[in-house]
Symmetry: C2
DNA sequence: ATAGCGAACTGAAACGTTTCATCCCGATGC
DNA sequence: GCATCGGGATGAAACGTTTCAGTTCGCTAT
């Protein structure tokens, strides 16, 4: 591998000069700069980021750890974060914890070893050891899609309780009194909060609510849940899913079994991913501003990693909104 | 930041011993090891990967650069690659070129600066400068979802010509004689090949084929293409899309306009992403073994980065298959 | 003529590891 | 009692940068 000293020798200048040509081209004379650049090109020199970073003490990358990249919601979050990072001259490396607490821990320690500039984290759970251990590394981080006391850490999230309530109220208004809630793992705060919101909306309405917890927030789990719901008697007249992926799965099961949606069963999803509108029956869904979340979180993080005075932590909470489509049309 | 020498001082041992505790615990006595580990825990020492890598000369990560992470097909490819990498004790950092040649170039040079162990690349185009420039870095790489002469570089792909033919033949067999092809940017080999396959299948059948090139392979572009197709007279009786995302968009436009699918217009997609089966009308699609592609590519790459004798390049080509669903049912 | 100045460049230290030759020392064999 | 051995620890070199205190040198102002 060709290094800076090969370039220096070949160009007949010192190592420091080559470094200057690369990093502060203005302090070196035109003639020298041209000569060095020519040699760099000739030798195909590429500077070694690890040496650079070792010297600098910190890197130019942000870590982003999300629950599931198979969920377009998080892909959009990632896009937003990348945009913001790019504007600040930083790179983002995106990883998936797959909702596994140990995968999360392993990626966090990888980030710590890389001396990442900061971390955007959509945590599986905030009270477990992995996060606490990471805290000790003193690397700044911002929680994504998850609230936290603002005196401890910044966070950007959407009010999931309100989201659950929006869905619940909408189902009440459309006349449903036997509702099933297909929820993801309750370790996830999102899932707990959405349930609480739903329950609050339904409270005192005399509605019969049954909750079913599935192991993963994906289409396959939704399909399975849908099949199980079909076997129930009496069958619920509406299904609220913690997630659009689950909702798409449930929908598939219904359509496959010849059950009319929304005629016999209404369905509400969550996230309003792009595919929700293109589904067998376009899905009513609780929309979250995914891209904005990613962007805001990255901005907050970048502000906290700045060398200037620390801006203090903030907890940004966005409001979700309900997008009504065919799947709950009366 | 606490370094190895802080640990050494505190534990009353040499730097080398601490390093041994971390990397080769067996060569150090039980007593010393325990003492050092205690200090590591107490001080919260995390080793600095950049220093480690600087010394080692190469990193433990593979770079993966795909065309679009918004496309679930590539998410699956990434999953496959990560699986394989994890088994080899390597990490994968995944990036998206968004089909922009300059974004691609920028990520490739980032990979080169990181001294990544190897790169999995789904290139925008193989004949442009970005790739040639990267070649000079001597970092091993494998092409993903793209063929190349096996004497130059390894590749893992699916036969897109066959895929296009499968779609074309199926539409012929289902009686269509006026077909529209909604294609992505023709700079992408995938798009060119699929068109060639389609044209080959239709050749001599007296079929009227019109091709429309859209700027991006996403749902929005599909929707737009669908709207334009609706305005045509006579309207095509079938639409083949270079991509499931496009197909979903076209489908949305059709359904939105009250055009019956497959009654008035049949639709065929490509990739068979999970959402294809859950669409408004379940999509007929050309399936590609996404996860297997990622896995195989990573395996090939890892073999090439091994220190042993070089295994030589290979070009793996998988066969696509047609999944027939409602959208082309007669 | 000389002091002073600034532009351009140099040389070496420092960053935090890993590795390897070396050293120490107690035990073993004769 | 002495040479040998080997487990265990040490110290320093090396990795490729960046940075910064110096050095050189041609110019300008006095």
């Amino acid at each position: 591998m060709v290094g800076i000293k090969d370039v220096a020798r070949r160009a007949g200048v010192s190592i420091g000069t080559v470094s200057n040509v690369v990093n502060r081209p203005d302090v070196v004379s035109d003639a020298t700069r041209a000569k060095v650049l020519a040699v760099i090109d000739e030798l195909g020199y590429v500077r070694d980021e690890s040496a650079r970073q070792l010297r600098a003490g910190r890197s130019r990358v942000l870590g982003l750890l999300v629950l599931d990249l198979g969920n377009p919601f998080f892909v959009d979050v990632a896009r937003g974060a990348e945009e913001a990072a790019r504007e600040a001259g930083l790179n983002v490396v995106t990883c998936t914890s797959s909702q596994q607490i140990d995968t999360e821990a392993s990626y966090l320690s990888m980030f710590a070893e890389q001396r990442v500039r900061g971390v955007l984290l959509s945590p599986v759970t905030t009270d477990a050891g992995a996060l606490c251990a990471f805290r000790r590394s003193r690397i700044p981080f911002v929680l994504v899609d998850r609230t936290a006391p603002a005196d401890e850490v910044s966070s950007v999230s959407v009010d999931d309780v309100v989201g659950g309530m929006l869905a619940g109220r909408h189902l009440l208004e459309t006349g449903h009194r036997r509702i099933a809630f297909v929820n993801g793992p309750e370790v996830l705060a999102q899932c707990r909060d959405r349930r609480h919101g739903l329950e609050a909306a339904l409270a005192g309405s005399g509605t019969e609510l049954s909750t079913m917890e599935v192991p993963a927030l994906d289409v396959a789990s939704g399909r399975e849940a849908g099949t199980r719901l079909l076997a129930r008697t009496p069958r619920p007249t509406a299904v609220f899913c913690a997630n659009d992926l689950l909702a798409l799965g449930v929908l598939q099961a219904m359509v496959g079994a010849g059950v009319a949606v929304p005629g016999e069963v209404a369905i509400v999803g969550y996230d309003d991913i792009e595919f929700a509108g293109a589904a067998a029956v376009p899905l009513t869904s609780v929309r979250q501003p995914a891209r904005l979340i990613g962007r805001t979180a990255a901005d907050l993080l970048i502000a906290e990693t700045g060398d200037g005075e620390q801006p203090g932590h903030r907890a940004v909470v966005y409001e979700p909104s309900l997008v009504i489509r065919e799947s709950t049309r009366r």
